[in-house]
Symmetry: D2
Subunit: 345 residues, 4 copies
């Protein structure tokens, strides 16, 4: 099993590297960096371990050009690249390797919707039909047969898991009011003043509310596929945590929907799902999932409304972890291989 | 002008001490501590300055018993004490001094509502009629004549300022879905495991959602006084910031309410209010108000809904600062005396 | 392999639980809590995983009394209890199980020294001769045969690793000036005002400098055992990090000691040590070892002095991780079993 | 009184703006930005207050070009610009206005030393003789007559205050081993990956130890001017705090120097100094000086060595605050005008 990582120097690329180093089925990792080919990976990440060194041996523990990666005929390619670049860079791998794209490039099938959300044409229109949306626990069967997987965004991952069972079983109505907060790593490893320590510590703010964030489009089309009568208002926030994401969503239950019906919906939908922890009325915290691939879900019902709470690690279940989980599903490996079931103190 | 502070060792008591030290009209401060009378105030707060020392000279720069404070016939008493204790401790001062109670004891006029929210009888029923709710910019005229002021809670202060102009002018309908996040100082200076640095840093969670937090009751009765047809769902969160509070509230505008009508409502309601900063569509951040007595308000309208953003320093406008502002109003001082108009980097 | 953890609700106890859950050789974990026997372990740690549940099955996933643990005849006992309590509670296990004591009770063989540092008599004088100091990489041979292991303190672990090779080979002289900083978890899971989030975030201070901290005694006796002519001045600090420890130590090199001699000393001493990472002149950071059992060491030589930099995770290599490593050594398991070689982003 | 600030968009420029807005003697502030002339200052700092607006009225509350500032004939110019640029930009103001340079350009009188530390020729050699080193409490008399003031670096400010009285009175000998830690704002408002929130939160490291940091040169020449027999080893660290600096320095006392002699030295040297707080054996914390212009000093003597602890706010006493204090001294204003004597909770 040979795996390529495109975009090794970003946060999600680096975490993919660590996860694949721990993965029992991956024997070789080919780390690609367009900006700094030939750089020692220990320079990029001084905390890296021995397993990484062994599995990157074939490229002398250095990053390589993408052209080199193509010649190595990898089994799987993880694209941890910016939107609009990612699917383009994957072009030589389509048809030859399983491609798992962590960007938004292949998530939205309708080119007009993509254009509206990203203010640019969809970059790989010919692959849209093939691409499977990689929300692992929802599209498990499709992922098992997919050669192109569009890994979901972090906000959609966190917000959709509690919503989908209720939408799928027609238990809710009206507008979902969803407030979510992201750790700062969600902005990526980019040198900007706005994400300096001094700007973000001990500070909180909202941004791009209502229907203006790109992930709104991604979520709305998913919810539509289960119940198109439901609307969504979504406000993301930045909070001073390094990694983690929390969503609080409020929506009206249809009349006559009982607490038991809700509980059954969750239990049926996520029976035997190792990475979904249903906590019932006990509220979740982001640290419970720090470093793990879990999504923890809590809920409370009051006055005909349900309040949904969900927490993920934005870099794991919200990005690199779900990507590895999708690889596990696709190649029929143990679903938990290379992944952690519990968080870090 | 002689001022008593009851509960000097808590966060709000300590900040009152610093603010009154800077206040040009307060000549003497009498710091009361029931738990540790006779303690040097520099032991409680090593960062304290010379002005504090000068104004606490009469008590030898030490805390005193409440019995001593009574004999000093203060002009004003700030009670920074726990709920259910506060109004009881103020008993000897009622009628003799202006009392500004930072606890919830005098905020809710209906004893049944108080009982429900606090699971105890209202502690000073004979004062409820006299007590004025101290939301400074809303009840300025009443505060100017009040001898007992019930200083509002931090969540109500943050959430009500953007809501009241809309409710008062009948511009909104349905249920307000309000999500708010508080800095950890909101929990007070109490030794608990839940508020240890290790438990709260890099961690976020919700608590007491919907209609279960005590401040729900305080907010609902206020909103009712302007438009009782509006309902409220409120979910507080804890985020790892020391001080600061952020609220994001979503509610439907009545049909035919234009953006201009909304803007006019805010502008009229808060014309000449020095501590309310209307930022229109530019979203606010908590650090903008760190250390200041301001409430910053932003809003955006989409699809018939208005999203309201408000930020305060929970210890200042949400507690001690608003208390000093209320004293300024009551004694006809410059409204900004002892208070800061802008935050700290 | 049956393992008992005494003191399951503290930070080190909880991390031991998670590590042993991942450990391939440990089949059963018996979690003891004197304060709350019978409590569900998922209540203590909601982030806990499936492996923990399986291995605590025999006690119904609940904490048990110590009396119950004794009857289970464990192979190994980890005592994660406060000083002066720990060795006393271990009494029934001495002679029957391998005991790994994470407290200071068995670290200092000289009762007079213990009395001076801890202001109390050494609690288990009869075990002092048997107890081996568990600085894993230094006392590997002794640990392999030990039935009682005194797990080192966090500051000694961090500071001694770079010092011992230099002292052992007689390369340094005079007084070591060591400054170290600890994450707040070093203070344990105790409800105190001093360790509240509000008190510690964005704040730094020193405490117990020179020769006044208890760990001074532990370090000095170790250094003495290699070269008693060397003196030590040690100042610990608190910095706002949850976990992690950093030490910067300065000492004079003997004349004629070359950079090469120093490098050789480190390389020889730590050849094939998987948990010691020698970084030469590249300075280390605490996050490189977050969650890992490594101690990273850097050094620079200027003007006849050597500056030593070392970093550990205070809860892992500084406590629970080194305890598990000592178990691995003692029972001849793979030294890295249950432990992580690299940190977390 | 007209004041120019060069470099308004950096952290020190912005804080100067806020301080001068509060300053009773400054009637007009001319904010200069070379990178973004014409920008609204409220865009740079949304938390800015009314006083700032009033005092920048003459430039329409916008930043201006330096050429415009020259025509306004300011009384005082604060240069908050990068090293090597600062003194060059001040050229048109020398001789016409009092210039307070916050950069290192005028701190080191010996061009060879400057070249060595900054790897570039000293940028304004003709001004070196005129420039007075602005360590306010030490060079008060010189500052009162100076037309060019070289404002000290943050590390020198923090470390020198406790050292100078001891060196001046010949109480110490040998090498001072000084460890200091800076808040992240010390790196300025520059977009770099190394200072992103994700890179710095929950992380600590050392950098440029021994004699390699530029501030070493600045400190050594100062210490030399009091006692050139004393050497210095200095290791700076980065800790996850936004603002604040802490220094722990260890040095040998000369034989026969008593604790009383030391205490007298501090008391005499800093008698009546409002911004130096001598705390004796009580250790200081950085939060005590957050936002204030104080330097807090503690010390302990053990075994013939003295351990010195000092704390400042790196942006205030370590930069903008000391600059305003120097203006106050030079223009014979109240030394505390525009400055805070105590910190923020």
């Amino acid at each position: 099993m040979k795996a390529v990582i495109l975009g090794i120097s970003g946060y999600t690329g680096m975490i993919l590297l660590r996860m694949l180093a721990d993965h029992p089925e991956v024997k070789e990792i080919i780390p690609v960096s367009s900006s700094k080919p030939g750089e020692k990976i220990i320079e990029i990440d001084p905390g890296i371990g021995k397993a990484v060194m062994e599995k990157t041996n074939a490229s002398n523990n250095c990053t390589v050009e993408i052209s080199h990666a193509i010649t190595r005929k990898p089994d799987v390619v993880f694209a941890a690249l910016p939107h609009l670049t990612s699917a383009v860079m994957c072009e030589p791998f389509f048809g030859n390797s399983v491609v798992i794209d962590l960007s938004a490039d292949l998530r939205i099938k309708d080119p007009a919707l993509f254009q509206k959300a990203y203010n640019a044409p969809t970059p790989a229109p010919h692959m849209l039909e093939k691409a499977v949306y990689g929300l692992s626990e929802i599209y498990e069967n499709e992922i098992k047969k997919a050669d192109v997987i569009a890994n979901p965004g972090c906000y959609p991952t966190c917000i959709l898991f509690p919503i989908i069972p209720l939408a799928a079983k027609n238990l809710i109505e009206g507008t979902i009011i969803s407030n979510a907060a992201s750790g700062i790593s969600g902005a990526g490893k980019k040198a900007t003043i706005g994400n300096l320590y001094v700007e973000r510590t001990e500070n909180m703010c909202a941004y791009l509310p209502g229907k203006t964030h790109r992930h709104y489009t991604e979520m709305k089309k998913e919810i539509d596929s289960f119940d198109s009568s439901i609307d969504l208002f979504f406000t993301p926030h930045l909070v001073p945590i390094k990694r983690g994401m929390y969503a609080t969503s409020v929506v009206s239950l249809k009349s006559n929907v009982s607490a038991e019906t809700v509980e059954n919906a969750f239990n049926e939908y996520y029976a035997n799902k190792k990475f979904i922890l249903l906590k019932g009325g006990t509220l979740t915290e982001t640290r419970d999932v720090w470093g793990s691939n879990r999504c923890d879900i809590s809920w409370q019902i009051q006055d005909g409304k349900i309040i949904l709470f969900s927490a993920i690690d934005n870099l794991i279940k919200g990005a690199s972890g779900q990507a590895v989980q999708n690889m596990n599903l696709r190649f029929n490996f143990d679903e938990t291989a290379g992944l952690r079931l519990y968080g870090e103190l």
